[in-house]
Symmetry: none
Subunit: 286 residues, 2 copies
Amino acid sequence: MFDLTLLGMPDLSVFQYNIVDNIFSMTVATMGAAALFFFAARSTVGFAYRPALLVSGIVVAIACYHYFMIRHSWHNAYALTEGGGGYTGTGAPFNDFYRYADWILTVPLLLVELVAVMRLSRNKASSMLTRLIIAAALMIGLGYPGEVITDPANASMRWVWFGLSVIPFLYILYVLWVELTASLSTQPAAAQGLIKLARVVILVTWMVYPIAYMLGSTPAALEAASGGGGDASGIVGLQIGYAIADMTAKAGFGVLIYFIARAKTSADAEKGIGLNDVPQIAVATA
Amino acid sequence: MFDLTLLGMPDLSVFQYNIVDNIFSMTVATMGAAALFFFAARSTVGFAYRPALLVSGIVVAIACYHYFMIRHSWHNAYALTEGGGGYTGTGAPFNDFYRYADWILTVPLLLVELVAVMRLSRNKASSMLTRLIIAAALMIGLGYPGEVITDPANASMRWVWFGLSVIPFLYILYVLWVELTASLSTQPAAAQGLIKLARVVILVTWMVYPIAYMLGSTPAALEAASGGGGDASGIVGLQIGYAIADMTAKAGFGVLIYFIARAKTSADAEKGIGLNDVPQIAVATA
């Protein structure tokens, strides 16, 4: 049906190979450090906000594993050419699926993390998460078939899958913007500025994903990806773009969630709610 | 007595090899993430329910290890063919016993986890666990001899062991359904819906195991597994089926146990039982 691997790795210059390799390593470090931070910082926010930090920690722990494996696959896929003038494919495929496996697991959790820190009503949270998680599954499931098309003759199909995937992508951004805006009035004043910032951070960091996809979809990039020579900078741009987007949308966004949790913990303290006070858990009566 | 390995790995397409490889990797990530979650979430449920979450965490930690090793064995068992058109066996055996080792350790623990969150009376819990764990040992012990038969000439023996293994399997499902149903009246209202859901989740997720076994037992699958060419999709289906069943029956089921624990913690809070209040532990006087 689909090849699960990007076959025919393009020749890369030493610079191109190393910049991707180094970004992958930096992403492993960032995600691992963020995981330590979110796990350890749980006790510094109110009891009600700890699930949000816990889920943030799990998101970046999963990403840390996947970037470690992505980098391992990158090392297997390339070897220094004789004389050291560049890098050439070893024949071992570079496994692009790690990133999609990561997204399947972490995008729903990112949405849970956001809903958890907002502490929306149980019904509101449940309806919102259901819609968003279905949209996320569609976005990832429709993006993948396009991602693995590297044959320039099929370039139009790569763009068709992209177009299909963008529909649920835009839907998610729309719902998040509208719901975050609607919830502002119910949030403590100290958190409102941060939630307004979160709206913008989501928009900006998420927009890097389609840009990275497009960088890998140009005629030159596809020609390079299918082993026909040409300019590999689109392929390099795609890898760097996804890594930067993942760092900001997961680790960076998690830090913002932490600041929202801190602001809300402070606001709770003014109302007499202690750090370890257990809130009433609204239980569905169904 | 028995070969401890699936001998004669069938040739696979790039797609078939990679989908199994990627599902294994995703299972490692899922189990590892679930372990982090269950361990860290213990402090968010009442003292009485923490053993259930602790055992849930241990179950998925064991599974994380085994899937890492299963994947390692998969990598050793296969090599890309010259030209990269597919994967062929290296001669190194794929070790299917990791999965049975995992089940021997984790199935009894899964039953403990469920009994622990229900907080049945000591006598009830003890008699139920004894019966269920003996049945689980029989189920796994009788399934394994069939699992390693790949010679189409012995196909009938594969089905005999399957049939024997299904008897304790159905007994476990029957006991769990009956006992969960019987316990409903003693559970807080807020947890009853979740326990009804747990009955169904157990049935549905556990049914994937015999389906996966059957996928690997068709004439075509056995022919492929014994190196006689033929269609390897049954073998691929067996590996994917077991991985999905393990993810849902261990990590997914653990999340449900967590929600039950949360609902019961909430119900306890309404009765004035605090998060860290130590319950009276009923000690057998025998």
